[in-house]
Symmetry: C2
Subunit: 170 residues, 2 copies
């Protein structure tokens, strides 16, 4: 089935498997340090470093030495976070997991959901403690900061798209 010499061109394929693995593990380690779970981090890094930006479950399992269950869990997490998308190649039940550059930048920056929940907690705090109290004012200012950031991020992403086009050409 899977041609170990790399006819697929995905994953480590025929390439310098050593270099791929070095990158995957070191980048994943950074993601872990930033709070991401280990397995999703490794899967994500592997996809980033894959030739086509997409790999099947089997390829991921083989390259990272993890069980199908592990791949499944990692991928579920990643797609909930909108960091990867899944595609079915027609005619097979094999699923491919793909990282769209654009998509994952968005996911990273548009912590929209996060900002919203933080905002809610802060709003309730202001209400509960009283707008007039020192603590209430502090929370209100923090809330204002998050709302500000939320607005700015959208604009920043727009600038990024322009910037990116200039460099890489859409």
């Amino acid at each position: 089935m899977t041609d170990s010499t790399g006819a697929t061109g995905d994953g480590a394929g025929g390439r310098d498997a050593e270099a791929v693995s070095r990158f995957v593990e070191s980048f994943a380690a950074q993601l872990v340090e930033a709070g991401m779970q280990r397995m999703p981090a490794r899967v994500f890094a592997a996809l980033l470093a894959s030739n086509q930006g997409a790999m099947t479950s089997a390829e991921l399992g083989e390259q990272l030495r993890i069980s199908p269950a592990g791949v499944s869990g990692a991928v579920r997490y990643l797609s909930q976070q909108h960091m990867v998308s899944r595609e079915r190649e027609p005619g097979s039940r094999r699923e491919r997991y793909r990282v769209h550059s654009d998509q994952w930048y968005e996911a990273l920056t548009s912590r929209e959901a996060v900002l919203k929940r933080w905002g809610n907690a802060l709003r309730e705090g202001v209400a509960g403690l009283g707008e007039r109290t020192p603590a209430g004012r502090r929370l209100a200012e923090t809330l204002a900061f998050f709302e500000f950031v939320d607005g700015e991020l959208a604009a920043m992403m727009e600038r990024w798209r322009v910037h990116r086009e200039k460099i890489f050409g859409g």
Copy 2:
């Protein structure tokens, strides 16, 4: 010793302890979900919700029901992340931990160290996989994105300072 009726005016003090605790726990929960450790998150939220934006170790321990050791560990982490600063009130060995709004916004956004490490991992990846390969190009684009964001964040914080002054008055 510590006047349990709240003469200090810090922490929950004479205020609606119920409301304070509700905010602390719910905001801390959000921070935890975003990847922060539980105890630092609770300590930080408690400081945010305190009257003076500062509390002593004993006050934190009492309000959050955690041991001095727990406070110590949490505070060490928070000050490493530049989210709180420590002050000695002269004449006592009591230490006060304070959250400066400005300071912690900076800490939150200037993920400088993080971005730098991610950048390094990506740069090595590009070198290892080859700039000409599809994977190399993908990593290079990701790297460019981080460098872009890094630059933007500084500008954003500057705009925030202006915006904030307008609303809250320096």
